[in-house]
C-alpha cells in the first residue's frame, strides 16, 4: 500500500511551488485514514484468524492450544450451524424480495404528478432512519396476539406472529420490509426519473401496451439501480442481528449473526467463534465484491 501512495504525482496538479508539496499533502491526507482502518479493522481480523485455529476461551485463564483446522471441520459438520445458514438464506430471500416488490411498487405509484410528493416521500423514508433495535422492540407490542394492534386492525383474532415457529421468521422479515422498502423506493425513484420521457412518448405513438412499455422500456432502464438496491439489501439482510435478536428467540429465527453472538459471548467458545466469524467473513466479502464491481459499472455510465 505504501508503494501505491508513493507513486509519482500527476504533473498537472503540481501548480503550487510553495507551501507543502502535493506529495506531502496527499500522504498527509490519505495515510492516516488507511492506517486507522488497518489498525482497527484489519489487525483485529488477523488477530482472530490466529485464534480460529485454537481452542481458546476468553472466559478462562487456560492458555490457548493449537488445534489446527478442527474448529473449521467441526463447524462445517455441525447440523445446527447449517440450519443457521439456511435460516439466514431464507430470511434474505423473503425480506429482500418483499422490499423490492413493495419498494418498486411504491416508486411506480410515486413516479407521476402527485401533490405533496416531496413531503410524502420524506415521510415514507422515516422508518429506515430509525434505530432497528428500539423500533423493533415496539413491534413486539404491535404483534402481540392478545393486545397488538396488527391483529386487531386485520381482524386476525389471536394469530401468533412471533410464537409460531413457522411464522416468526416471516414476522421479522415483515418488520424489515417495513423499515427498508422505502430504501428500494428511493433508489427506484431515482432510476425511474432518469428514464428519458421521449421513450415513453415514442412507445405511446407506436400504441404499445402498458405491459410492453414496462418490460421493454422501464424495467431495463431501472435495472442497474435496482440491482444496487438488491445487492445492498442482501448484504445488510445477511448481517441481520438487532431485529431478530430483539423480536424473538425462536430457533427458527436464529440467523447466523445471532448464533455467532451466542457462541462468542454466551458460551465463550472464543476460538471456535473466530473460525465461524471467518466463514461468515468470506461470504460477506464475496457479496461485497459483487457489489463494488456493480457500483463501478453503474458509475461509469
Amino acid at each position: 500500500m505504501a508503494t501505491a501512495v508513493m507513486t509519482r504525482l500527476d504533473p498537472s496538479t503540481r501548480a503550487a511551488a510553495h507551501g507543502w508539496s502535493d506529495l506531502t499533502i496527499r500522504n498527509l491526507f490519505i495515510i492516516p485514514t488507511i492506517l486507522f482502518l488497518i489498525v482497527f479493522n484489519i489487525f483485529p481480523l488477523i488477530y482472530s484468524l490466529g485464534y480460529s485455529f485454537t481452542d481458546f476461551r476468553a472466559s478462562t485463564n487456560a492458555p490457548a492450544n493449537f488445534v489446527g483446522l478442527q474448529n473449521y471441520r467441526e463447524l462445517l459438520n455441525d447440523d445446527f450451524i447449517w440450519r443457521n445458514f439456511a435460516i439466514t438464506a431464507q430470511y434474505v430471500i423473503v425480506s429482500v424480495t418483499g422490499q423490492v416488490l413493495v419498494g418498486f411498487g411504491m416508486a411506480m405509484l410515486l413516479n407521476r404528478d402527485i401533490p405533496l410528493k416531496g413531503l410524502l416521500t420524506t415521510l415514507l423514508l422515516l422508518p429506515m432512519m430509525l434505530s432497528m433495535a428500539v423500533v423493533g422492540l415496539f413491534w413486539k407490542l404491535l404483534y402481540d396476539p392478545s393486545f397488538g394492534i396488527i391483529n386487531y386492525a386485520l381482524g386476525l383474532g389471536t394469530f401468533e406472529w412471533l410464537s409460531n415457529p413457522n411464522m416468526a421468521l416471516y414476522a421479522v422479515a415483515l418488520t424489515d420490509i417495513w423499515m427498508w422498502s422505502p430504501f428500494v423506493m428511493l433508489l427506484s425513484l431515482a432510476g425511474l426519473s432518469a428514464v428519458p420521457k421521449h421513450l415513453y412518448e415514442a412507445a405511446a405513438i407506436d400504441r404499445a401496451g402498458p405491459l410492453y412499455t414496462f418490460f421493454r422500456i422501464t424495467l431495463p432502464l431501472v435495472a442497474p439501480i435496482l440491482m444496487i438496491a438488491i445487492i445492498f439489501r442482501t448484504m445488510e439482510a445477511f448481517k441481520t442481528f438487532d431485529l431478530a435478536y430483539i423480536l424473538t428467540s425462536q430457533p427458527t429465527t436464529e440467523v447466523i449473526s445471532i448464533r455467532l453472538y451466542k457462541m462468542a459471548f454466551q458460551e465463550w467458545q472464543t476460538g471456535r467463534s473466530c473460525a465461524l466469524a471467518y466463514i461468515v467473513l468470506i461470504m460477506v466479502l464475496a457479496i461485497t465484491n459483487i457489489y463494488v464491481k456493480y457500483l463501478n459499472k453503474v458509475k461509469e455510465r
Partner: protein
C-alpha cells in the same frame, strides 16, 4: 446555536477527559432488573447514612444479565464492585477467578450456620461439599404459582369442576390436579386460558419451568458429582415429566412461546390465565392494586407434587459476591460485614427482600408479611438447582436447543429430545475432561 454547540462539545470533552474516575467512597452492585434490586437500593441507602459510602445498584434485564455480567468479568472490567450473581454461575466465576474467595469471611461470621441450608449449598459453595465459599446468600428465591382465587371460588365454576373431575376445585396439590384445572379453565372462545408457564429459551426460563416438573416427578438432571447423565436426564420419570410440561403448554394463552416472568405476571393482570408460574420475587406486582386490577382475587401456592408424591421446585435466587477486578475490594468487604448483620437482614426482609437468614425466615413476622411468604418459606426447603459447573452456559443452551422445539414446536418426542440432550451433555463433559 453556536453557544449550545460549544456547550455540548465542552461537556463531551469533560466527560471524555474524566474517563473512569474511581471514587473510593462509592460502590456499585450489579443485579438484574426486578423489584428486589430496588429494595436492595433502599437497603443500601441505610449504609450510606451510616458510613457516607454511596452504594448504587445497577440493573439489566434478566434475559441478558448473564451475558452482561460475564462479558464484564471476561473483560476484567472494574465497572462493578459486587455482583448479585445467579446460583449456576458460581462454578464458572470461581474457577476463572472472577469472584473473591469468601471462605474466611464465611467462617468468621459463621454464615454456614445462620443462613438457610439450601442457600448456602447452592448460592455460596463450590465445588459441592468442598467447604469453599464464594458468595454471601442475599436473595433466596424459588418458583411458585399465583392463581385467580376469584375464578376458583366462583360457585358455578366449583360445581362444574366437581361434576367433571369428581373432586373439589382448589389450589392444586399435585401435577394431575394442575393439569385438570388448566384444562378446565382453558376456554379460547372466552379469551380465557388455563395456565401460564415459562417458555422463554433465551436464558434459563424454560429450563426452570421444565425442572419444576422433572424434580417433582422425582427425576434429576444428572449426577452432579460424577457427571453421569445417560439414564438420568433421559429417565422414564423425566420423559413423563417433559410430556406433562408439554401438555400444560397446550393450555397456555396464544403467543406463549417466549414467556418469562413479565408475560406470566401479565397473564394474571390481563385476565388471560387461571394459574401462572413465577418466581416468588416477582409477586409484589401482583398484590399491588395499581399494577394488578385483580390483586384482591389473586392467590398463591407452592409448586405441586408429582405422581409419586415428590415435591420440589426449581431454585432461583442469588448470592452477593465481590468481583476480583474491583478497585474497591476493601470497601466491598466492609459492606458485606454490614450486610450479614442480623439487624440488616431483618431490615432487608422488611423492605421486601428474601433474606436467606434462617432466624428471620422462621419468624412469624416474616411469614405473615405477604400472602405468599408462607408458600415461599415452605418451598425453600425443597429446592433443587441446575448444573453449577463452569460450562453450565453451554449445558443450558443445549437443553434449550433440544427441549424448546419439542414443547413449543411439536417436533419429535420427549424421549428423542432427552436422549439427544443426554448425548449433547455427555459430549460437553468429555470436551472439558469431566468424564473419560
Amino acid at each position: 446555536m453556536r453557544k449550545t454547540l460549544t456547550g455540548i462539545l465542552a461537556g463531551i470533552g469533560l466527560s471524555l477527559a474524566s474517563g473512569t474516575s474511581a471514587f473510593a467512597q462509592e460502590l456499585t452492585i450489579f443485579w438484574a432488573e426486578w423489584d428486589p434490586a430496588n429494595y436492595l437500593q433502599e437497603l443500601v441507602n441505610e449504609y450510606e447514612k451510616e458510613t457516607g459510602v454511596k452504594v448504587t445498584v445497577e440493573t439489566t434485564p434478566w434475559s441478558d444479565f448473564q451475558t452482561k455480567a460475564f462479558t464484564e468479568f471476561n473483560a476484567k472490567g472494574s465497572a462493578y464492585d459486587m455482583v448479585v450473581g445467579d446460583s449456576q454461575w458460581i462454578g464458572a466465576a470461581s474457577e476463572a477467578g472472577h469472584y473473591v474467595d469468601l471462605t474466611d469471611f464465611f467462617a468468621k461470621h459463621k454464615l454456614a450456620e445462620t443462613m438457610a441450608p439450601a442457600t448456602v449449598k447452592y448460592y455460596a459453595e463450590y465445588p459441592a461439599a468442598s467447604g469453599k465459599y464464594w458468595s454471601v446468600p442475599a436473595e433466596g428465591d424459588a418458583v411458585g404459582w399465583s392463581y385467580r382465587k376469584d375464578w376458583f371460588e366462583d360457585p358455578k365454576e366449583m360445581e362444574a369442576f366437581k361434576a367433571k373431575y369428581g373432586y373439589d376445585l382448589a389450589a392444586p396439590k399435585d401435577f394431575k390436579q394442575l393439569r385438570d384445572i388448566a384444562e378446565f379453565f382453558h376456554r379460547p372462545d372466552e379469551k380465557r386460558y388455563g395456565i401460564a408457564i415459562y417458555t422463554d429459551n433465551s436464558y434459563d426460563a424454560l429450563v426452570m419451568g421444565v425442572e419444576n416438573a422433572i424434580f417433582s416427578w422425582g427425576g434429576e438432571l444428572g449426577d452432579y458429582a460424577t457427571y453421569k447423565v445417560d439414564g438420568i436426564i433421559n429417565s422414564e420419570k423425566n420423559i413423563q415429566a417433559l410430556e406433562a410440561y408439554k401438555e400444560l403448554y397446550s393450555f397456555t394463552p396464544p403467543g406463549w412461546a417466549k414467556a418469562f416472568f413479565i408475560e406470566d405476571n401479565q397473564a394474571i393482570t390481563e385476565n388471560l390465565a387461571a394459574m401462572s408460574m413465577n418466581y416468588f420475587a416477582f409477586f409484589p406486582a401482583l398484590v399491588n392494586e395499581s399494577s394488578n386490577p385483580n390483586a384482591k382475587g389473586t392467590g398463591f401456592f407452592a409448586n405441586p407434587a408429582g405422581p409419586s408424591g415428590d415435591q420440589f421446585a426449581a431454585l432461583g435466587g442469588q448470592g452477593i459476591s465481590i468481583v476480583n477486578y474491583s478497585e474497591n475490594k476493601e470497601e466491598a468487604f466492609k459492606f458485606l460485614e454490614w450486610f450479614v448483620k442480623d439487624e440488616t437482614q431483618k431490615k432487608w426482609a422488611e423492605l421486601g427482600g428474601y433474606t436467606a437468614n434462617k432466624a428471620v425466615l422462621e419468624s412469624a413476622e416474616f411469614q405473615n408479611a405477604t400472602p405468599y411468604n408462607k408458600a415461599f418459606y415452605d418451598t425453600m426447603f425443597k429446592v433443587k438447582d441446575f448444573w453449577a459447573t463452569p460450562e453450565y452456559a453451554e449445558l443450558l443452551i443445549q437443553m434449550n436447543q433440544r427441549v424448546y422445539p419439542y414443547i413449543t414446536g411439536d417436533q419429535g418426542t420427549a424421549k428423542e429430545a432427552l436422549d439427544n440432550l443426554a448425548a449433547d451433555w455427555n459430549a460437553t463433559f468429555k470436551k472439558y475432561n469431566r468424564i473419560k
